[in-house]
Symmetry: C2
Subunit: 293 residues, 2 copies
């Protein structure tokens, strides 16, 4: 039944490639992931008119000014962003009403008739967390055991390696500018908890508490919360460690994967993935190029 | 009147150096900073009995397991910590009731009859933010213009320097393992906003919005919030930048300064500052020594 429905949708889209409206595309994208968004979902249109005819779709970790400019250059007007447009989780703009940075960004979106939709809750909440899956694929870890289902998938067993080796390997594979690590560099690791993004103290500590887990790999963590929990665990001689990849690094491959999904969902429509890039650099190496690719 | 009161208190303490109780010491410490704590202050006793006789006082950025162990070695039983003991801002322990790391830490505090008091709100809220002052003194920036008063003091005018030079200088002076920077390395900087710790999106953006301010120096910031605001400001060709020192680095000197204040307040009592140290390291340099000093 689901396959039949998808086929009917695809046929319908193919024949109307030039008449797809943003609101309609968004509805199809939502239904292609989790069955239902959670209550109070942040997966909403952040700016733009849902009646806009879609000329092209761009997925990204976060629709920075430069990502929006690149989308316009490519002719994409429906932007699917994983993280907020306006600098806070619920895209509340009250604090920014008279802010020049916010006003210029909003004006750019309006001037170029872009539609910005956030795809966060549903892409994480599907039976498979697609952001996590993108990360595993990027690292070649999808071949390692990670039990299916909403809880098991975040735990992956990798070939034994030390914390120092794992850190250097992640830094190199993902071209990370500001990787941060906590724990004994010689700690032997094979049981990894992988929580992309910034999932907060309780989820991060819950993962670290699992007796087998030796390291939590996350996007970011509050330094006075999870980081201090790990520091105490290590001081108590527990075999625990933490690797912070950076928020963008930990979720960008998932949104690249999303672009592949959307190319199948909208065969007649141009779909790009535009990399937001790492915002932070360290004084020894200096910044990487800021141009989105 | 205030001087007379302080003299009376000092006389009283000197003559009772061996009979000072933790609760009494804490009350004196509070009154020596801001006039009143804010409503719902986090400046409370986190563990231990206020009737405990004080054998020595230790100040620290955060009472990690290792800081507590070092305090016991030195004979200090009243711990004045700037940040939480139990991994969240309000030291709520519900989530940790059965957590082995929390239980072992609490058991250590109880077994050694320590008293842990958090000194956060009042040390920041005094007419002079003493944590900020400690930072300026550490950097030799107290001689540069920073208007007095609750708002002006966070803005300091330093001799002109590029962002790259300033970052390298801070990294070197403060021995920072994981300094992170955002913005054009060639940006010319003389107007700095300095917000130690993790003051949150609104305070950080408010500081960056000030037209003269070229860089915000902070302890930490959420990567999807303040960091993305700065990224957009830079893309809009605004002369703005961000330097993240690390939370501990940005507040430890303030708590070292607190130890000096407490030596004056309690002339008959041993007062130590115990450095918590930086929890995170980068794969190129590996960890620094974890032993608190």
């Amino acid at each position: 039944m689901r396959i039949l429905l998808t086929l009917l949708i695809l046929l319908s889209i193919s024949s109307r490639a030039q008449t797809l409206r943003a609101g309609e595309a968004i509805s199809l994208i939502q239904h292609s992931y989790a069955a239902m968004p959670p209550p109070n979902t942040v997966d909403t249109i952040k700016a733009g008119d849902p009646n806009t005819l879609v000329t092209g779709i761009a997925t990204t970790f976060l629709d920075t000014m430069e990502v929006l400019q690149e989308a316009v250059r490519r002719g994409d007007n429906l932007i699917i962003t994983h993280e907020p447009t306006f600098y806070n989780h619920i895209d509340d703009t009250k604090f920014f009403t008279n802010d020049p940075v916010y006003k210029e960004k909003l004006a750019f979106i309006e001037q170029h008739h872009l539609v910005v939709f956030r795809l966060h809750d549903e892409i994480h909440a599907d039976t498979t967390d697609h952001i996590l899956r993108g990360m595993y694929e990027e690292l070649g870890w999808d071949k390692y055991p990670h039990p299916p289902g909403p809880r098991g998938q975040y735990f992956v067993t990798i070939p034994q390696v030390t914390l120092a080796e794992l850190s250097r390997s992640l830094q190199s594979k993902l071209h990370i500018q500001t990787l941060r690590v906590e724990g004994d560099p010689n700690l032997s690791i094979s049981h990894v908890a992988f929580l992309p993004g910034s999932s907060g103290l309780e989820k991060q500590v819950f993962a670290l508490r699992q007796p087998a887990v030796e390291v939590l790999i996350a996007g970011e963590a509050s330094e006075w919360e999870t980081v201090e929990y790990v520091r105490d665990a290590v001081a108590q001689s527990r075999p625990k460690a933490l690797i912070l990849l950076g928020h963008e690094v930990s979720e960008e491959p998932g949104m690249e994967r999303c672009a592949k999904d959307l190319r199948e969902l909208f065969p007649g429509i141009r779909v790009d993935h535009i990399v937001a890039g790492q915002p932070l650099w360290n004084p020894e190496h200096g910044p990487v190029s800021n141009s989105p690719q």
